[in-house]
């Protein structure tokens, strides 16, 4: 081995295998499947939601373990991971949808701005107006297109006159990119629309109550590629006004729509990072194996 090679080897060893705390952590994380401490920066400069030590139990079974992450204002963050990893469970914690499951218990802290959303003083109905949700399968109410969108603002008392309501319905449909397609058939049933249109109707319905955060649980899994592209374009536009959290099984979709990505595995939040970093150079071996299709 030449002197130069020895010098480079020494320098490389010092660079990649030094014993500083940060390097020790990274060298463990990339090689050890059992080390489940979250890799990457969980905090952001301007958080909309702050989650710390979130544990979720279904009866005796623990579904989420000490999850901590910030969700930034006007960002799209994607949660990815294999089935049963806890990503949807965590998403449902963010607007207390898990309250409806009897055996489910949530511990830890989740804040929306300065409000602890699990505080006893929180009105869950109001909370879900602030944090809207779009589900996997489009689920329009068995009502007209107009009524689907008008329902939320009406029960929340957001409008005083029919004219105001009309305007709000049109504005919401416009934001969801659906107005042009439905403006002449407002009184037809929501269920008469195509799958992609129904999903955009559900987004319009969520947007109508002026939420601050929109949660999306695999919003495109039942849609064809063209309808999916429209929803993805819509997500990008909605980001200007809302914070969006999306759970998706499609890594390509996560890569296309999000700015940050979080990878969950067996109830642990394994890695959080900028989306381009997660998909080109993940730090944790579990993330790498998942995104490259090496999961056994």
């Amino acid at each position: 081995m030449s002197t130069t090679t020895i010098e480079i080897k020494t320098a490389l060893d010092a660079t990649l295998h030094s014993d500083t705390d940060a390097d020790k952590r990274s060298s463990v994380e990339v090689t050890d499947y059992n080390n489940r401490q979250t890799v990457g920066k969980i905090t952001v400069d301007h958080p909309k939601m702050v989650c710390r030590n979130v544990n979720v139990y279904y009866g005796a079974k623990q579904a989420l373990k000490n999850v901590g992450i910030d969700i930034g204002i006007n960002e799209v963050i994607a949660f990815i991971g294999p089935s049963g990893c806890g990503k949807s469970t965590f998403l449902r914690c963010l607007n207390r949808m898990n309250d409806t499951i009897v055996a489910c218990r949530v511990a830890g802290q989740i804040k929306l701005d300065e409000d602890d959303i699990y505080d006893k003083s929180i009105d869950v109905v109001q909370l879900r107006a602030r944090i809207g949700m779009v589900f996997q399968k489009p689920n329009p109410f068995p009502k007209s297109i107009y009524e689907n969108v008008a329902y939320g603002p009406r029960i929340h008392g957001m409008v005083n006159t029919k004219a105001e309501l009309d305007e709000l319905v049109r504005a919401s449909l416009e934001r969801a990119g659906l107005l042009k397609e439905v403006e002449k058939r407002m009184n037809e049933p929501g269920t008469s629309l195509s799958g992609g249109q129904q999903q955009r109707l559900c987004i319009a319905r969520a947007v109508a109550v002026n939420p601050e955060v929109i949660l999306m649980d695999e919003p495109c899994s039942a849609l064809d590629p063209i309808a999916t592209a429209k929803i993805e374009e819509l997500i990008d536009e909605l980001r200007e006004n809302y914070t969006i959290v999306i759970v998706t099984h499609s890594m390509q979709q996560a890569a296309r729509v999000s700015q940050r990505t979080a990878y969950f595995h067996l109830g642990d939040l394994i890695e959080v990072g900028e989306t381009d970093q997660i998909f080109t150079n993940p730090k944790h071996k579990l993330t790498e194996d998942y995104i490259t299709g090496r999961f056994g």
């Binding site: 990274s26 150079n281 071996k285 090496r294």
Partner: protein, 245 residues
């Protein structure tokens, strides 16, 4: 994160990646052979061998086309991510560099044909004196870069990047000497210019080996160290990667 050695769930994907990697290494072997033959043809004044090298460049070009097609197919059909994506991109870039190295070998042979099959007398030995040491350095860099690619050896890759400076210095010295000869005796200008083209081709081959080494570092470490002026700057980039974790 370093690249994973686990098998993919889809075995066909493993096979496609392995085939691509083998094709690139095979192409590397062919270009290495082309360079060796080109330098030998020049050294031995064997113009039949030189013309054979020129003709065999088509094989190198054909392998580039095949490797490019394979890369595009894998991207289109598998949507690779993480280390797989880095592997494809690095191999695709390496293929471009290998093809250029093949062109370099061809150029050396073209110059050899001009020198020895021309109308005038052959050049004096002193004009060609610097070709052999520069060719040896370039050949060593090519061999090492292919070895580093086969083993995904970052240390070796960084050594190659370092060694390119040595080749550049040798080239500059040789160039200065050739200019001196040309100034001393204008009759040497014709041959000297051909020799300049030869050593320039060898110097460019060194640059392409350096590029391949940088692709290897990117493949393994996920950090782009291209355009870093020296080893210290490259190491700083790699250190930054790890401290960010």
């Amino acid at each position: 994160m370093a690249i994973s050695h686990e098998a993919h769930t889809v075995k066909q994907f493993d096979l496609q990646l392995a085939n691509l990697r083998n094709l690139v290494l095979e192409m590397g072997g062919l270009t290495e052979d082309q360079l060796k033959r080109a330098v030998a043809a020049l050294d031995e004044e064997n113009m039949t061998a030189a013309r054979e090298v020129i003709s065999r460049d088509r094989l190198v070009n054909g392998m580039q086309v095949k490797a490019d097609e394979d890369c595009i197919n894998i991207i289109a059909l598998r949507q690779p991510l993480g280390s797989d994506l880095r592997m494809i991109m690095s191999l695709a870039n390496t293929v471009t560099d290998l093809e250029r190295i093949g062109d370099g070998a061809k150029k050396i042979c073209r110059m050899a044909v001009q020198i020895y099959d021309g109308v005038g007398s052959p050049p004096s030995a002193k004009l060609l004196r610097d070709v052999t040491p520069i060719a040896e350095l370039a050949a060593e860099m090519l061999h090492d870069s292919l070895d580093a690619l086969a083993r995904l050896d970052v240390e070796k890759a960084l050594t190659i990047i370092h060694n390119d400076d040595e080749l550049d210095e040798e080239f500059q010295s040789a160039l200065r000497r050739l200019i001196t000869y040309m100034m001393e005796d204008q009759r040497t200008i014709g041959h000297a210019i051909n020799v300049v083209f030869i050593i320039k081709a060898l110097e460019r081959i060194g640059d392409h080996c350096k590029n391949i080494a940088e692709h290897i570092v990117y493949l393994v470490e996920g950090k782009n160290i291209q355009q870093r002026r020296n080893l210290d700057m490259s190491l700083a980039i790699l250190a930054q990667d790890h401290s960010e974790t």
